[in-house]
Each structure stands twice: as C-alpha cells, then as structure tokens.
C-alpha cells in the first residue's frame, strides 16, 4: 500500500487554479523527484502532501499507517526572522520533537541523533553558533539536519541543493541516497537539478499546472519533455566548455 496517494488533487489560490488533477503515489522506499518550471506548483504540491494546504478538489490520503510525525521536511524558504535567537543545536533538536509525542523533554537518544545528523551535514562544529549568523548555505544544511532528525519514514525536500556549493551538493545527493537505500526512508524531492535527479530518483513527476509526466526516471529521459530539458542543459554546458 502507498504511503501517500494523491488522487486527482487540484489546488487553488484565491480561486486561481495553480495545480490541476495530480495523480501519483509515494510507495515505501520510493525516491521521487518533482520537476517543473518556476511557479509550476511544486511547492504547493508538497504543502498539499504535508496537509499544510488543502486540495480544492480530489484527495490526498496517507496509507500504510503513515503519520505526519513520521515525516521530515525541508521548506523551500523557511521564514525565519532575522533577529531570532536560536542555536544550531536548538534548531536541529527541534526536528526530534515529533518523535517525543506528549513527552515534554528530549532524551539522550534525541541529542545523539541530532549530533549524528549535524555530523552528517558537517555542521557539528557550528553546534553552539547562533543560527541567524550563519551563511545561507550553512543555514540550509542545518535545516536539512533538522529534516533528517524528523524523518522516520518519509523525507520531503523542497529544493535541498539551493545555495549549496558543488562539493556540498554532491555530498548531499550521496547522503539522501544513503538514507533512502539503507534506512528505507522514502524521499520526495523538488529539484531543478534534472541531471542528478534523474540519476538518483526512481521516479519522476513533472508538473506544469497540470501533470506533464509521471513514471520511471529512465522513461523520463527518453520522453519528449525529458529530452528537451536535457538538451537545454547540454547546450548550456557545451557553451561553457568551449
């Protein structure tokens, strides 16, 4: 049974339809990449999956006993105020909160898991630093560590590589793939980085207000849309190399 089944879901803002009739499902251990142009509705779709935004038509149902508290989430742009006093440690630990249920305080295991994830994303040395004083890329990694802390069965990432340097970018893809394969945590990722997405993901969903493509990553490469995007990338790279 699917973790999440999205059946004909449509979303609107102020009566303007931004996503129409989306059908796909997230299976246990899946690695799904959602692609599409700016403003095509990717972030909106993720918010729908996370029940932050309700579909105006159709339905999104959790199956297989999935709960919101099994999910880790990286927002596209966390609206963190400039003057918010919070240490990296406090931010990452807050990802463990959904495992605590009604228990008020963190246990030792939570701190260990937070430390592990900070180490994984090489921000452990920033542990005591103030979150707002980090660079954009560093903040992104901290929020990723928080997402990993929260993810038990599903990891939802909205443009996780935005703002990362090339080295960190490759490392991050490796980390995500590892988590997906070794821990069996399903991944749903929005990305503009088609090349890497196609390499790692098992399935691709392309949206452009409506659903353009849904299927295996391999089939996507051979599809018209996939070919078109890959061609654009190749041309760009060619231009740079010459």
């Amino acid at each position: 049974m699917a973790l999440i089944k999205c059946g004909g879901a449509s979303f609107e803002f102020d009566l303007r339809l931004v996503l129409k009739d989306i059908n796909f499902e997230v299976l246990q251990g899946d690695y799904i990449c959602i692609v599409g142009d700016n403003g095509s509705g990717k972030t909106t779709l993720l918010k729908g999956l996370l029940k932050i935004k309700r579909p105006c038509k159709g339905e999104i149902v959790f199956g297989d006993g999935l709960e919101l508290s099994d999910i880790g989430y990286l927002p596209q742009s966390a609206i963190v105020q400039k003057d918010f006093p919070a240490s990296v440690n406090e931010v990452v630990l807050s990802g463990r909160l959904n495992s605590r249920g009604l228990m008020p305080f963190y246990r030792k295991i939570d701190r260990e898991i937070a430390d592990e994830n900070m180490e994984l994303l090489s921000v452990i040395n920033l542990k005591r630093k103030c979150f707002r004083e980090l660079s954009g890329g560093q903040q992104q990694r901290v929020l990723l560590a928080r997402a990993l802390c929260a993810a038990k069965r599903l990891l939802v990432l909205d443009e996780p590589v935005a703002g990362l340097d090339p080295l960190a970018l490759n490392e991050l893809y490796k980390i995500i793939k590892d988590i997906n394969e070794k821990k069996g945590i399903a991944v749903v990722m929005v990305s503009h980085d088609i090349k890497n997405a196609v390499r790692d993901a098992s399935r691709i969903l392309q949206v452009q207000t409506r659903q353009v493509f849904w299927g295996k990553a391999q089939d996507y490469i051979n599809s018209y849309e996939g070919k078109r995007l890959m061609q654009v990338l190749k041309d760009e790279n060619g231009g740079v190399n010459v």
Binding site: I52, P75, A78, P85, A86, S87, N98, P104, R146
Partner: protein, 274 residues
C-alpha cells in the same frame, strides 16, 4: 537596603503584592519571548485594553474582577489570534479595533455607574493596594499553572515560534500551541493588570524579551535572561515605589527601560570589541 526590605515586608499588603508580582512578572516575560518573536506584541497590548473594559464592567456589575476578566480576555485572545492568522483581514487593524472598542465600552460603563474615581485610575495605571486576599490566591494558583505549562511545553513553544510551518508539517499541532500561548498570555495579562495597569502591562511582556535579545543569541539563554531581568526589574521597581511613593507599575517599566538601554549600549560595545 536590607533594612528597607525588612521594613517593607512587615506590611501584609506589600508581601501579597510581592508574591503575586514576582510570579506574574515571571509568567509574563516567559510568554513575551514567544510573542515578541512571533511579532504578536500588539496582541498583548490589545488584550490589556480588553482587560480594562471587562474590569470596568465587572466593577459595575459588582462581580469579582478576575473571574469575569479572565474568560473575556481569553476569548479575545482566541479571536485575535485567529484573525491575525487570516491574512485577508488585517490583523493589526483588528487589534486596534478591538482594543479601542473595549476601552470605549469600559469608559461608558464607568461614567454611567461609578464615575471616574480612583478605582478606574487603578485599572489604568495599576496599584498594589488593589489586591484582595482571594485575588492573591487566584493569582498565585493561575501563575503557577502558567509557569508549569510553559516549562512542560517549552520545546514545543520553541518549535512553533521558530518555524510554524515545519512544526505543523512534521506532526506538531501548531494551532493548538499557538492557542495555548494566547490563552496563557491572556491569563498573565489579566493577573498583571491589577499591579501594572492596563496601559503598562504589555511592557511586562515585551521588555524583558527585547532586552535579553540585545545580547543573548540562543532561545534558552534569552528565556532564562528574560526571567531574571523581569524579576530583577520588578523587585527594584517595587522598592523604589515604596521608598519614593511612586506608582509601582510605572516604576517597574522605567527600570525595564533603563536596563534595555544598558543592554543595548553593551551590545554595541561588545560588537565593536569583537
């Protein structure tokens, strides 16, 4: 200094005021950290005006002031929070609407019934003499409850204050905790209003947090420092008000203001030093 304390504490009404003030200052500033960071400072101000209106009505109807005010202000908190979350209606405009209406109704009720007497003045500017024994028991009980709930939900309050969307997406009931913060704030405001007055109570909420944020950079340190600052300012304020017969609420606010400037200057000095 020590003699002054002993002298002060020989008056039962001051002991009562100190106990209640201590607890209320603590609760108010803890909630203040979250309110300031969530940009909800205005809600605290709005609620205090609603509190004034309901106190006026309670007096006119000869009801115990706290027993009427607490449910009314909690209800107003409920309303304000839900409206400010709905971006279609401007939250700040609604706060202004609600607070001025409450004051207007309060003033009308007062003028029709008792007239503008010292009681009314006390509602506006606060007085430590205004507290009866039953008020003290209720205040102590409620502020202990507020404090305990804050400690129990500390981590969740951090989570919904820092990133509400993430909290909600990962299964934390953000709406519930927002509501909890609002309700606790409402209670703290009503309790503090007798001492500070409707016009000054919101400073008890926002000042310590703002002062701490000049220097401290983690949530925990800001919370702890706010608590210390709030209690410190309260104690100094009440001693000054005793020694020089100044209004308690205003004295506490001025001490808070001075401390804010000290922290502010210190933070500049500190930054340059680094």
């Amino acid at each position: 200094m020590f003699d002054v304390f002993i002298e002060m504490f020989s008056y039962a009404f001051i002991v009562r005021a100190v106990i209640v003030g201590f607890l209320v200052s603590l609760c108010a500033c803890l909630l203040g950290v979250s309110l300031v960071l969530k940009r909800y400072s205005m809600i605290g101000d709005g609620l205090s005006h609603v509190g004034f209106g309901s106190l006026a009505i309670a007096t006119a109807m000869n009801l115990a002031p706290l027993t009427l005010s607490i449910p009314v202000v909690v209800l107003a908190a409920f309303l304000l929070l839900n409206v400010s979350q709905n971006s279609k209606i401007k939250g700040d405009a609604f706060v202004a609407l609600l607070s001025t209406s409450s004051v207007a109704i309060g003033v009308l009720v007062i003028s029709v019934t008792t007239g503008l007497n010292t009681d009314v003045c006390n509602y506006l500017f606060g007085s430590i003499l205004a507290m009866s024994k039953s008020d003290v028991y209720l205040s102590v009980t409620l502020s202990v409850i507020v404090f305990v709930l804050f400690v129990i939900f500390y981590n969740k309050i951090f989570a919904v204050t820092f990133d509400e969307v993430f909290a909600q997406a990962t299964g934390i009931r953000a709406k519930f905790y927002n509501m909890l913060i609002a309700i606790l704030t409402a209670i703290a405001i009503v309790l503090g209003m007798r001492m500070m007055g409707a016009l000054l109570i919101s400073s008890l909420i926002i000042f310590p947090a703002l002062t701490s944020m000049r220097i401290f950079k983690t949530f925990k340190s800001v919370v702890i420092s706010s608590a210390i600052i709030s209690i410190f300012c309260f104690m100094i304020g009440i001693v000054i008000s005793y020694l020089y017969a100044t209004p308690t609420g205003a004295s506490i606010v001025v001490i808070n203001l001075i401390l804010f400037f000290i922290f502010w200057i210190f933070s500049h000095f500190f930054r340059r030093g680094l």
